[in-house]
Symmetry: C2
């Protein structure tokens, strides 16, 4: 058992295992009560109103006094105001001494006209509207059985079903978000540049809203209302799929520079260890990738909102910084309109895992962005125009973030978890990193990399970060398949639609 203090300014620490009352913690301190693994212990006598400091940041102020060795639970903390978005300072913390990556290439699939290559070779079939999902799913079932075995170089056939497309206010100001997400999603590099869109014929999300005029033809688009019934439309779907599969089957992996790789970072089911093990290790891997020329995205507005000053300082220039503030402000307003604020983010599981509030969660969450400068800020579902570390603004929900990152071009995701989730995507491999070794022991066939060894002292952040970097390159190159991919664990696409439905 150890007691971990992250920053020398901290007046709290967390135990690596549950503490019985009276357990000595060194320096004359002892546990005043039962203290669960990961929960905060006061390292000094703290008065009512005292700031509680972890990661060198004020998590909140005590609403009651706590003696040294006492447990500080989430109900004792008053949440501070969100950091002001006016007057942020940009570009004051631009790091240039990033670590060198051990390798500079991966084996990927080049995609014509795309800045990124694919890590998988998938036929993605986009839908304009949920109405067609039943027919498409039953056709895909047949395609997987009858066609896929004939084209062994193709990894999978993935229907891109979603609830959008009709019964929505398609001209509402915020409708641009789901529409852009779908437009970009069908161009994810893992789909190899092949376009296949299935529509109905009377929906609001017309094909014209998804494709360029030159792309709209019988080569790429099937409208079910044009076909004479179920059997005929299914036959048409299989026929188009086979044409696409033939082309995809010709593709071969080839060595590509890391600049052709676009990796997404996300965490979910976080705990108090996420911010000191899994996320900083992912941050180190991210720095290696960025330094090698790759693009790395991190996201989740409410989980970086309280770290906006640190991120502003890392923004490459004032334009990027202003875009960051703009995205944060948009989300503040969006939450306010629904009668909530960023404090609605933490889950019961986060709290059980020792995270007192959204400030503590955010301080751990931003660690996954490493130290690289932020070169671009994207609105949800936008595609980047630069390479390097990118803040791709998205909601924090795992599936919504994953869907937005896929739209932004991410071809492989790294997912850090403390409580444990079996999350997986059909369109890109997901590498899962545990914040605690307990979780890896418990879920040995779901967790790919254990960052809990950082707590036990078996490995450093840097060592786990390097290991994770290699895992990313091996997975991107198809040499390794993460557990979620092996088990075919595919979560639904979950669109972010802040506009009304009709």
């Amino acid at each position: 058992m150890r007691i971990i203090q992250v920053d020398e300014r901290d007046n709290v620490a967390i135990p690596t295992a549950d503490l019985a009352p009276g357990t000595p913690m060194g320096g004359g301190l002892f546990a005043r009560s039962y203290i669960p693994q990961g929960h905060k212990i006061a390292m000094a006598d703290l008065r009512e109103g005292s700031p509680v400091v972890r990661y060198g940041a004020v998590l909140g102020h005590l609403m009651q006094p706590v003696q040294a060795g006492g447990l500080i639970s989430e109900t004792m903390l008053r949440l501070p105001e969100s950091p002001d978005l006016d007057g942020l300072e940009f570009g004051t913390d631009i790091v240039t001494d990033l670590p060198e990556p051990p390798v500079s290439v991966f084996e990927g699939y080049p995609v014509e006209g795309s800045p990124y290559g694919g890590t998988r070779n998938i036929l993605g079939i986009m839908t304009t509207v949920q109405c067609v999902a039943g027919v498409l799913n039953s056709a895909v079932e047949r395609m997987r059985k009858e066609l896929l075995p004939l084209y062994p170089a193709v990894d999978d056939i993935v229907p891109l079903n979603h609830p959008y497309g009709c019964g929505v206010a398609i001209d509402a100001p915020d409708a641009k978000i789901p529409i852009r997400t779908l437009r970009n999603l069908l161009r994810n590099p893992n789909f190899g540049g092949e376009l296949m869109v299935v529509g109905l014929g009377c929906e609001k999300l017309t094909v014209e809203r998804l494709l360029e005029p030159g792309e709209i033809s019988g080569e790429n688009v099937i409208m079910l209302q044009d076909h004479r019934g179920y059997v005929t439309m299914t036959d048409a779907l299989l026929e188009m799929a086979e044409r696409k599969l033939k082309r995809l089957n010709e593709r071969r992996r080839q060595p590509l520079p890391l600049s052709a790789l676009c990796v997404g970072m996300q965490c979910g089911g976080s705990d108090a260890f996420s911010g000191i093990t899994a996320n900083p290790a992912a941050g180190y891997a991210s720095d290696l990738l960025v330094s090698g020329g790759a693009t790395v995205m991190f996201s989740e507005v409410t989980e970086v909102r309280d770290g906006v000053r640190q991120l502003a300082a890392r923004c490459a220039d004032a334009f990027v910084g202003r875009r960051l503030a703009e995205e944060m402000r948009w989300y503040d307003d969006y939450l306010r309109a629904g009668g909530v604020d960023r404090s609605a983010n933490p889950t019961p599981g986060n709290k059980k895992g020792g995270l007192a509030n959204i400030v503590e969660k955010a301080m751990g969450s931003i660690a996954k962005s490493g130290r690289s400068p932020v070169v671009e800020v994207l609105s949800p579902g936008e595609r980047p125009s630069k390479r390097g570390l990118i803040y791709a603004s998205t909601p924090a929900g795992d599936m919504v973030c994953g869907t937005c990152q896929l739209a932004s071009g991410m071809t492989l995701q790294v997912f850090m978890t403390g409580r444990g989730t079996p999350y997986g995507l059909a369109a890109a491999p997901v590498i899962k990193v545990s914040s605690r070794s307990d979780l890896k022991d418990m879920w040995s066939d779901l967790i790919d990399v254990d960052a809990g060894v950082i707590v036990s002292g078996e490995a450093s952040i840097r060592e786990v970060g390097e290991l994770l970097f290699r895992e990313i390159v091996d997975t991107a190159s198809g040499r390794k398949r993460p557990w979620a991919e092996k088990h075919r664990l595919h979560n639904d696409l979950c669109l972010f639609n802040p506009a009304p439905i009709t």
Copy 2:
């Protein structure tokens, strides 16, 4: 070819087939231009500012003059204001001479503690959160292969996946809508009263928010974080499913009074014929059902909003009427907050089908409620406390309406369509009714009942209504399976969540 005028007050009519310019239409009238099937023809010279009247209702006012025989397109009409919700008159049109149904029983599955019986015998597996969907889906694939054949009296195993559960503002004022929907969904009578809930363990939508305290046990609930990895959790899911399947397999259909039947009415992909063929026929079937003691729900706020006066007059009492106005007002406000109004409802397909605007769409849409008094008004996803005709308030999107009606207890849906959609639900059979015979000819293996024969004069509204009533009873009794059920066309559950996501 015929020209159809619905109400004697109407100054427009619609042709049953495309009209070439110059086609004589009787009474000295001829088509002034090409007029597509179902589009409006001026039956007299109309000045700028004239009201355009169909169904005896003002659809809007002309923004330009139109000569008799001229086409009135949607761009020529100025939309009137929504009918005022203050000062509605309630209970002034209570009909008591409903037609008698030809049969008074169906063969269903009684469900203990439920006012309604099931029409199918399905194991429904509820999820607390999307995180578990990948594991559950892969387990259900095995269940269907390994277990379902052993329990032949069970129709299917259906995972109830949804995007809610985490990454949401669970205490936001409007979060009650998705939570209530999920709570009630898992109690749909087609699931036979068996409860099976799969959660993760750290999500916001805790099991306590879905189940009563006495229902929460290892008998009904599996939390994935409690299990040692993928194989173990999958085994646990199969084991629980088998216990439930054993009990479901003991059930047998038995004669139940129509009062144990809960039918949902919905239309989608509507056209100008929907309101004179499919919807009134469904309305007649609805009256037969209600008169026989059954419960019939109709929904879709924006598609009844312009008919609120007619519905208010049919509300059984002032309490029901005030609830109707309340639901309409809530939706008005919800749309306004997103920068739109009810005019955002019609689709390109509706317009292509001759529906000029939401008023015309609504006038056709409410016809599916027949003439019965409205005995209760539900908020989205609520369960009824009465039998008879119920206005179950929902958005108009097909999948969202379907999901809400399932939560409200609907065990069979009747779906009217003009443009054609292959819509289907996994949890309840859906009977599809075409508004035009063209559609039935085109989609002979998707459309179950053709109401287009009303236009050709081959059958009356009453005759098609009776036919549909018999189709409903036969389908509810398991003697018939609609096309969508035969092809296993299952649309996703689409929740209505007007609250923010975090």
